[in-house]
């Protein structure tokens, strides 16, 4: 088994063992979607209007909240040291961790979005574009987030810093993601939005593992 596969498998097994990793973000997403109507009021017209935005912000927050944990446990129990001391390239191992993060926190949202969208009375077409935009957008969130998580690892006040670093970088994904759905609803077509999202995934996938690995080496030096 390659080291990449080994790290991926270990992270997934651990998450399944603790269960929470998988469910946390999904559950957070569901909850956010259920709470807003309670805060805003039950009128379906309003809800339909704000639905895509709420769902995308929910996905973004869900992904961001699990970022802190991406490297923290490995750092605390010494596994990260061992990974840094392993003869394999740290970037490859980190890429595996990022993939695991997406599988655990991004993919479930993609699968769930169409169901939750029903609560906001979205049309079938809009639901489809919502799912597609999340499928392209959530990997971007994980990739960008990994760099932030690595940079703030073990830093005092890391949580806030992480948000502060990552959030501005998330905004384009949010704007194009939620924008795609709204464009679809208003009949403009979402393809432009979606192709920009795809380009963002590709660029992030190239740079993020490398940058995260470099940041992790710095974090270990304390």
């Amino acid at each position: 088994m390659s080291a990449f596969a080994a790290v991926l498998k270990r992270d997934l097994v651990l998450a399944l063992r603790r269960k929470n990793e998988v469910i946390t973000s999904v559950f957070f997403f569901v909850v956010v979607a259920a709470l807003f109507p309670l805060g805003i009021g039950p009128e379906m017209n309003t809800l339909r209007l704000v639905g895509p935005g709420i769902l995308w912000v929910g996905a973004l927050l869900a992904s961001m909240l699990s970022l802190g944990r991406m490297f923290a446990a490995d750092h605390a129990d010494g596994s990260l040291e061992q990974m840094a001391l392993s003869p394999h390239s740290l970037s490859v191992l980190v890429a595996a961790k990022i993939l695991a993060h997406w599988i655990l926190s991004g993919l479930p949202l993609v699968l769930l979005a169409p169901v939750i969208g029903l609560q906001f009375d979205l049309s079938a077409n809009a639901l489809w574009i919502l799912t597609l935009s999340l499928l392209l957008g959530t990997p971007v969130l994980s990739l960008i987030g990994a760099v932030g998580a690595a940079l703030t690892l073990g830093v005092r006040g890391g949580d806030v810093l992480l948000t502060l670093l990552v959030l501005p970088l998330y905004v384009p994904a949010l704007v194009f993601g939620a924008g795609a759905v709204q464009a679809e609803i208003s009949g403009l077509g979402a393809s432009a939005h979606l192709s920009i999202l795809s380009a963002m995934v590709l660029v992030a996938a190239v740079f993020s593992p490398w940058a995260s690995a470099a940041a992790l080496r710095v974090a270990l030096e304390s």
Binding site: K19, A34, P37, L38, G41, P42, E43, M44, L118, Q119, D121
Partner: protein, 253 residues
């Protein structure tokens, strides 16, 4: 009478009692279901406004009622367990939860299936619907909490605290959501059509409700027996049970 209650509050004595009682309740449930369904599906007339669609009421209402009753029962046992520290209470609380959760889910499901033809939508943020959704979450929380804790006694105590806190909250939740809805002039739907319900329909619905009640009791008794077995597996009386003896002989042979 009191002495009898004390007697049966020990798992060892409750186990055979539950074993005798559950078939009784299961039979009652079956008979009443058949009767209720007969009345509801074959005798009761078509509803003037809702056509045949109204017949969902025969599962929807019993299931909704029971989902609330079961939560109250859980809170009752939890309180008993926390105050008198009886082991059986914790087991009963745990045994009730799955049935309650299933009923809460069914309430949502049948309600949604009713809502589509009647209101044209699967879901509205109506007070009753919303509080049922929250009740379902409470059930899930209880089950998740108790099953995430390996140590049985710890799970019982934690579950009891949660059940009580939840029960205190249920009325507040219902009331709050109701208020919320009036503020927003409601989702412009009403669940009941008032008292215009026909006599046969009402009878059938009540019979179904009693049937589901019996079903819940039978399930709980059956389940609590399994829980008692697992918790008490170290003790001698379990080893002396006829069913255990038979099984271990079989295994040895």
């Amino acid at each position: 009478m009191i002495r009898k209650l004390f007697y049966f509050s020990s798992p060892q004595n409750f186990y055979p009692l539950a074993g005798k009682l559950w078939p009784l309740f299961a039979c009652l449930a079956t008979v009443l279901t058949v009767w209720g369904l007969w009345l509801g599906m074959f005798v009761a007339p078509t509803d003037v406004q809702q056509g045949e669609g109204y017949r969902i009421i025969y599962v929807h209402v019993p299931v909704s009622w029971m989902s609330m009753v079961i939560y109250l029962a859980m809170a009752f046992w939890a309180l008993l367990g926390l105050t008198f520290n009886t082991r059986l209470s914790g087991m009963l609380t745990c045994a009730l939860a799955p049935t309650g959760a299933i009923f809460a889910f069914l309430s949502l499901w049948t309600g949604a299936l009713w809502g589509k033809p009647m209101w044209g939508t699967w879901w509205v943020w109506d007070a009753r619907l919303t509080s049922e959704l929250i009740l379902f979450f409470l059930y899930l929380g209880f089950i998740a909490l108790t099953s995430a804790i390996d140590d049985a006694r710890r799970a019982d105590k934690a579950g009891a605290i949660l059940a009580l806190v939840g029960a205190l909250n249920v009325p507040v939740i219902y009331f709050s959501v109701k208020w919320w809805n009036t503020l927003h002039q409601g989702a412009s739907v009403s669940l009941t059509k008032g008292s215009s319900m026909q006599q046969t329909m009402l009878e059938a619905m009540l019979i179904m409700a009693v049937a589901f009640w019996m079903y819940a009791i039978a399930m709980t008794l059956y389940r609590v027996r399994s829980i008692i077995l697992i918790r008490e597996r170290h003790s001698q009386w379990v080893a002396d049970l006829p069913e255990v003896k038979a099984l271990s002989l079989e295994a040895r042979a």
